[in-house]
């Protein structure tokens, strides 16, 4: 679009301000992790120090919470990858009654407010099934809302790849399984991995559904942060953990994005790839 120079500059300044708005809080948290004055959170910090990092590593409860988060994230992601792939294969490759509702069904756990999903699941577990809340119930809850990211990534890829390669495979004598194993799966592999990475990131820092489905005595990392941030004595360690959490959730997302856009570039126009990647990742 042709815009006057001034208009372009105004827009550019707007984008710059928008990015500053988005990033300043993250940078501020990052700086507080090095805050030399332990318990006061006054800005600017009087000095910088690395002292809190070893202290954070020593914190038993933080370490345990971290491991719990990893465990929950990995299991929930594995379940979501299987269920999301199955659903996307059915929708992309077949026509059947109720096909349109599948996307709706998959997106529902994340389109409804997290608190609804949390209350609904916790209510079913405790009131109806009589299961005590535990690690198992968090995994079930997390897998439920992670399906959508895998589904969206994989289906976007399947829609772009042509069905004629699979027909060719069948014509050459491959059976249904072989076609899937040697033709369909390689084509969707990177999308599947990207979806898995995003599902993990989503699970890793989820807190709202988690608070409702977590067992007594268990803590994921976000829950650990939430319980400790009201304790002034723990705040410096909370800040360090916060910085680590930002890094841990950003890395998989960055990798996922690279995977989606690289595959997109080989498939066609660059702009389209960026757009698809944005769509695939914009869902939570």
């Amino acid at each position: 679009m042709r815009l006057s120079r001034q208009a372009t500059w105004v827009l550019r300044a707007g984008v710059g301000l928008g990015l500053a708005f988005i990033y300043i809080p993250l940078i501020v948290v990052g700086i507080y992790a090095f805050n030399s004055s332990g318990t006061t959170q006054k800005w600017p910090p009087p000095g910088l120090t690395l002292d809190w990092f070893p202290k954070a590593l020593e914190s038993e409860s933080a370490r345990e919470a971290f491991l719990t988060s990893i465990e929950v994230g990995l299991i929930a992601t594995a379940i979501a990858m299987v269920l999301g792939t199955l659903a996307s294969l059915a929708v992309a490759k077949h026509r059947f009654f109720g096909r349109e509702t599948i996307s709706f069904l998959v997106i529902l756990p994340i389109a409804l407010p997290g608190i609804v999903t949390g209350v609904a699941l916790s209510n079913t577990f405790t009131q109806v099934l009589g299961i005590d809340l535990s690690l198992f119930t968090i995994v079930v809850a997390h897998a439920t809302f992670c399906i959508v990211v895998v589904y969206n990534n994989v289906i976007a890829r399947l829609r772009r790849s042509s069905a004629s390669i699979e027909e060719a495979s069948a014509d050459l004598g491959a059976d249904t399984w072989q076609t899937f194993r040697f033709v369909t799966l390689p084509a969707m592999k990177t999308a599947l991995v990207a979806g898995g990475l995003l599902a993990f990131a989503l699970s890793f820092d989820e807190i709202i559904v988690t608070t409702f489905t977590i067992g007594a005595g268990e803590q994921t990392l976000p829950i650990w942060i939430y319980t400790n941030l009201f304790r002034p004595k723990e705040l410096p360690i909370v800040n360090v953990v916060a910085l680590l959490v930002i890094l841990i959730s950003i890395i998989p997302v960055y990798l996922a994005h690279r995977l989606s856009s690289e595959a997109g570039v080989s498939a066609g126009a660059k702009g389209g790839a960026a757009r698809d990647a944005a769509e695939a990742t914009a869902v939570p």
Binding site: G18, A111, L112, T144, I147, W177, H257, A282
Partner: protein, 295 residues
């Protein structure tokens, strides 16, 4: 060797695969059994249970859940002004956050889609995506420190003789607008990318002022994408109880649900139906406006 490969091998796996050949219904059924079973039985089932539980009550003396139909919870919700205020406050903030985010997101998305170079576009998409996924709780924590008395906001405003909003409803609005902004930028960006440049050129060639092109061509075509983004901003605000807890002392729907979940699960269930009803109404309107092609 070629002969060997061509000879039929009747392994179990192959026989199983053969079973699916030419039976599309069986294929679909097998593919869908897991995911649909999980989501319909596990999730939709839970929502139905939630609906049923909302009509139960808690015995005032024993604190036990009474599994009998009663409208007690809904009567309380309707009659107590406190709850009406809370629902009104939550929906009001959700609407304010949605409008704020739409206004902030549109220019950024527009720049990304129509002005930036391909390289700039790729960088911007990543720059918006990464914070979207970075920890929600950490972002709220960041704002809690920034908004505190000795925080960076008061520090930055002090030279101008001003004071930051501190903790309160304004802080909730500000923090939530911050949290959900990327959820609005990306769908709008995707929607704008879909508008062919030739349409814009045609409008310009026909003599339209850029502002007219924007109002008459771009805005109507991008509107469904804005609605798609608003689903997230609206829904996420309705369910959030952590932001209000950390940066205000105001009660939102989520806080009341959270506080009653332990002692009065039926009442929590009844309250949780409020965001569901609001969201269903919202989704139906969004569907009418064509937002689902953009989700």
């Amino acid at each position: 060797m070629a002969v060997e490969a061509a000879a039929p091998r009747r392994s179990a796996g192959r026989r199983l695969a053969g079973l699916f050949y030419g039976r599309p219904r069986l294929q679909v059924g097998t593919l869908l059994a897991g995911p649909v079973g999980w989501l319909v039985i596990g999730y939709i089932g839970s929502l139905i249970v939630l609906l049923v539980t909302a009509f139960w009550s808690v015995d005032a003396l024993s604190g036990e859940v009474v599994q009998e139909f009663s409208l007690e919870n809904f009567e309380a919700l309707w009659n107590e002004p406190v709850y009406r205020d809370i629902v009104g406050r939550t929906v009001g903030v959700a609407a304010a956050v949605t409008v704020t985010d739409a206004l902030l997101a549109f220019p950024i998305a527009f720049y990304m889609a129509k002005i930036a170079s391909n390289r700039g576009k790729a960088i911007l998409v990543v720059a918006i995506l990464l914070p979207l996924w970075s920890s929600y709780l950490v972002k709220v924590l960041a704002w809690r420190t920034m908004l505190s008395d000795g925080g960076i906001i008061n520090w930055a405003l002090e030279p101008f003789g001003l004071n930051g909003p501190g903790y309160g409803i304004v802080a909730v609005w500000l923090v939530m607008s911050y949290l959900w902004l990327p959820y609005m930028i990306l769908p709008i960006y995707a929607g704008l990318e879909r508008i062919p440049d030739s349409l814009i050129s045609a409008s310009e060639d026909l003599g339209a002022h850029p502002f007219t092109t924007f109002r008459r061509v771009i805005l109507p075509l991008a509107f469904p994408a804005v609605v798609a983004g608003s689903i997230f901003t609206f829904s996420l605000t309705l369910g959030d109880y952590i932001t209000p807890r950390l940066v205000s002392s105001d009660q939102f729907i989520g806080n009341v649900i959270f506080n009653s979940i332990v002692n009065d699960q039926p009442f929590a269930a009844a309250l949780a139906l409020v965001p569901i009803v609001v969201m269903i109404a919202y989704l139906l309107v969004a569907r009418k406006l064509g937002a689902f092609e953009h989700v």
